[in-house]
């Protein structure tokens, strides 16, 4: 399925990057404010779905660069990888680990296994929905 509306094309081109940026924003701030991997993934998915409606599934596959299924498995692997530090430290599975990297100007970059886990959720959600949508669209064509 592919529409030929000029307005949708133009709008999609402009809105999509904004949506993707917003989804990253949601993902990263999720630990303190509303957001997180699940919502971020959904927003990213809706961005790609919008693009897919405007330009079709082939173009969406090209812009995604990876197969949605790979995205899905990458998400699962990320989520599993976040358990490794706890495993190495001999703690119960999924115990969070935090690292603070000093940045110039008295600030810290807070990194954690929780973030890795959240990225995994993000990718898994995005991968799942894109698997649904792209394959449904392709079966259409």
């Amino acid at each position: 399925m592919k529409t030929n509306t000029l307005i949708l094309h133009t709008a999609a081109l402009f809105i999509m990057p904004l949506q993707l940026m917003f989804s990253l924003f949601l993902l990263l701030r999720g630990h303190d404010e509303p957001g997180g991997g699940f919502i971020g993934g959904l927003v990213a998915a809706s961005a790609f779905v919008l693009y897919a409606f405007a330009f079709g599934s082939t173009a969406t596959r090209r812009i995604l660069r990876v197969d949605p299924r790979d995205l899905l498995s990458a998400g699962l692997l990320f989520a599993l990888a976040s358990t490794i530090p706890a495993f190495l430290a001999g703690q119960p599975m999924l115990t969070a680990h935090w690292w603070e990297l000093p940045l110039p100007g008295d600030t810290y970059l807070k990194l954690s296994t929780v973030l890795i886990f959240d990225i995994g959720v993000y990718a898994a959600v995005l991968g799942t929905i894109m698997t649904f949508v792209i394959n449904l669209m392709e079966s259409e064509e």
């Binding site: 303190d32 886990f117 959240d118 959720v121 799942t128 949508v133 259409e140």
Partner: protein, 768 residues
């Protein structure tokens, strides 16, 4: 210790690579593992001699009090040594028995996994880990019995074994849980060392019945004995290892293990003695009346298992000594005899004893080893089997219950067993030459070393019984008994009652053997007519019944009409909920609407309108859109009541759902009315009923608080423990991250399911 137990699994992973490297010497290469394990376990003997038992601990799931502790005492060490030492020879033997088999690597993978499971089973200190390993032995043995999976009979036998042992395994799990509740601990060592009188506990009877159901099925006691001979469909090394030396003894091990705790009750001893004696006689009779060499051995294994069970039941110190000796003696000679049977089968091309004869000329070494092992089985001096048999008679003569009956039964069984030993060692090797399908040759070295070493060991143990006794057997008897025991093994006791019984059984057995040819046809006739009413017939009836019930319930419940599934689901769930609500709680219709706002009423009306429209409209798109409206309304409610995370998620999911539905919509056929008015009104009634119950439940939930809300914990700790201020997200990725992990796996499975559905459909359509 952890490494020792798990090394089998680890090596199993490397088997395919090793197979490529070592080629036909794979059996010898892999045998290095059990051989070194034998040395390792033997090195633990001194510690067990001085301390009685060792507890080696590893934390596994500390939160659930599940540990990977290993309990090393006399009993577990005897078993571990039997498994590792016999396993060594079995692996060497398998290498030549299955040489050139296309699935050789797979065979060794299974065999090593089985061995590792067996180690875990006999060494585990925790009941839960013990059960896990117990089930692992069932599963690996299922795969091993069904190794020649292209044969339908083999598959059937494998399934039978699995079905019987796993059904028992489920009962065992219940029994072990009951045992843990009774004793307050999942740790075997704690249960064994506590002085609680478990047999006075209210759960005692239930626990004993459940545990015995598990051990009886596993160790093939009457009436569950039928699966064991069928399991002989497995390759012979498997039969030798699993069904004589190890797996079937897992049940025996567990009974012996729990004997100090559970053995004080009447129920325990009487059940064990009764079933054990019945199994002993049945096994001995069936062994004598069969003609296939593997079946003969399998049934005589059943006889041995029955004897062992009976001895635990008798439970005197003497009986337990006899138990340990019989256990060791049986493993030695039966392992050897099975490997001989395999060699005969391999070299002559038949399993039928009636066509074998005079093989001693072609296979002299095999003949000598077979005779040695068979002498031990028949219980002749100076082999270890003799000592075990003398002890058996002696302990039964002094048995506190049913002494005379048990002694007579044991003499009968021993007599039949002498006949069986003759069938295995005399018939094939002596007498006039038979007419076998293959011209027999001496078996290769790899197939002879195992039986040779085992039967020579039986001879050594018989000649110098104090060696194994001092090393380990005494400690083993002590752990079965629960207290130290003075044992006194000797080859010569003087002329006494046991010796005379022994002589009687020998003479009668020899007579039976001489008339075997004449008896055979009559025994065969009796067996075939008895089989129609036997437990195996019952098993098949039961399986047929299951199929019939399954077909019936599929027809009624799973008829493929989605609407019906939904109807039943909703009606049952809300019916039960409503019933509970009415009877347990009472309905509370007071509702304070004073501080509600007008926009909340607006949203509520919108929701009702959207739901009504979506269920009455004839336009699919309209229905989907109004469902979307419904979802947005719910999201709006979430946002109003300050749950922004939920609100956003709901909005996004709702949007994407509408999009997905629209995508699917184009594929559906024209709208049509498929249901009759009656069905629609019925559905309407059910829907209204469900809605009502749900509303009442929510109203009831408002004024009930059974537990303190958990949210205060999260509010207090999310910032300090998880460094996050957004509680919802902290719960998702930190406190309950395991749930989320599970959910994204479910999500992926759903994606794969949809994918395969779409792809398969597409392929279907492209078919010419």
């Amino acid at each position: 210790m952890l490494l020792a137990v798990l090394s089998g699994f680890l090596l199993a992973i490397a088997v395919p690579a090793l197979h490529r490297m070592t080629g036909k010497y794979i059996g010898w290469a892999l045998a290095l593992l059990p051989a070194s394990l034998t040395v390792y376990f033997a090195s633990l003997i001194p510690a067990v001699q001085t301390d009685g038992s060792l507890l080696i601990e590893y934390a596994w799931l500390p939160g659930l009090d599940i540990t990977l502790n290993f309990l090393v005492d006399g009993l577990s060490l005897v078993f571990a040594l039997l498994i590792s030492s016999i396993g060594t020879f079995i692996l060497i033997y398998s290498g030549s028995y299955l040489a050139g088999h296309k699935y050789l690597a797979r065979f060794f993978v299974l065999m090593l996994s089985f061995m590792a499971s067996m180690f875990g089973l006999v060494l585990s200190d925790n009941l839960v880990t013990l059960f896990v390993f117990w089930e692992l032995t069932s599963i690996t043995s299922y795969l091993l019995i069904g190794f020649n999976h292209e044969d339908i009979e083999t598959r059937k036998s494998a399934l039978q074994g699995l079905f019987v042992t796993v059904a028992g395994g489920l009962a065992l799990m219940a029994g072990l849980i009951l045992l843990a509740i009774m004793s307050g601990s999942y740790s075997l060592s704690e249960i064994l060392s506590s002085n609680m009188a478990l047999h006075e506990h209210a759960f005692y009877t239930a626990a004993v019945i459940c545990i015995l159901a598990g051990t009886f099925t596993k160790s093939a006691q009457v009436p569950f004995h039928f699966w064991l001979p069928n399991a002989m469909a497995a390759p012979t090394p498997v039969s030798a290892f699993l069904h004589s030396a190890t797996m079937v003894k897992a049940g025996i091990y567990l009974m012996a293990r729990l004997n100090p705790s559970l053995g004080e009750g009447e129920l325990w001893s009487q059940t064990l003695v009764l079933f054990g004696a019945a199994t002993m006689l049945t096994g001995a009779y069936l062994a004598f009346s069969n003609t296939g060499i593997k079946k003969v051995l399998a049934y005589s294994t059943i006889m041995a298992l029955g004897t062992l069970t009976m001895l635990i039941g008798v439970g005197t110190e003497l009986a337990l000594t006899a138990f340990i000796c019989f256990l060791v003696a049986h493993s030695l000679y039966k392992g050897a005899l099975f490997m001989i049977a395999g060699a005969l089968d391999h070299q002559t091309g038949t399993k039928d004893i009636t066509v074998m004869g005079g093989l001693r000329k072609a296979m002299p070494v095999t003949a000598v080893i077979a005779c040695l092992a068979a002498l031990s089985q028949a219980g002749l001096p100076p082999l270890f089997g003799f000592i075990a048999k003398e002890l058996l008679f002696e302990s039964l003569l002094e048995s506190p219950i049913w002494s005379v009956g048990l002694t007579i039964a044991a003499v009968l069984a021993a007599m039949l067993l002498v006949g069986v030993a003759g069938l295995v060692a005399v018939k094939p090797f002596f007498g006039k030459s038979g007419n076998t399908p293959k011209t027999p040759h001496e078996a290769p070295f790899g197939m002879l070393i195992g039986p040779a070493v085992l039967s020579v060991t039986a001879l050594t143990f018989g000649l110098v019984p104090f060696l194994p006794e001092a090393a380990l057997l005494q400690a083993a008897v002590a752990s079965v008994n629960g207290a130290a025991v003075e044992t006194n093994l000797a080859l010569w006791h003087g002329v006494n009652k046991p010796l005379m019984l022994s002589v009687i059984s020998l003479l009668l057995g020899w007579g039976l053997l001489a008339s075997w040819n004449r008896l055979q046809s009559r025994l065969h006739a009796i067996n075939t007519s008895a089989a129609r009413f036997g437990p195996e017939a019952g098993y098949f009836k039961f399986m047929e019944g299951i199929t019939i019930i399954a077909a019936w319930q599929t027809r009624v419940l799973q008829n493929g009409v989605l609407g019906l599934y939904l109807l039943i689901l909703v009606a049952v769930t809300f019916g039960l909920t409503g019933y509970t609500l009415l009877t347990q709680h009472g309905i509370n219709l007071t509702l304070d609407l004073a501080d509600s706002h007008f926009y909340e009423w607006g949203i509520a009306l919108l929701l009702v309108a959207a739901a009504t429209f979506s269920s009455t409209t004839h336009s699919r798109l309209g229905s989907v859109a109004s469902m979307g409206v419904l979802g947005f309304g719910v999201a709006l409610t979430f946002i109003l009541f300050s749950a922004p995370d939920l609100g956003i998620t709901q909005l996004l999911v709702e949007t994407l759902t509408v999009i997905l539905l629209v995508l699917v919509l184009f594929k559906l056929p024209e709208f049509g009315n498929l249901s009759s008015p009656f069905e629609r009104y019925r559905d309407l009634a059910v829907a209204i009923f469900a809605g009502m119950v749900m509303t009442l439940v929510i109203l009831a939930a408002l004024d009930v608080q059974y537990f303190e809300s958990i949210s205060s914990y999260y509010i207090e700790n999310s910032a300090t423990l998880a460094y996050g201020r957004n509680i919802v997200n902290v719960i998702l990725v930190d406190f309950r991250a395991l749930d989320t992990l599970g959910e994204i796996f479910v999500l992926s499975l759903a994606a794969l399911g949809v994918l395969s559905m779409i792809k398969l459909k597409a392929e279907d359509q492209h078919k010419p």
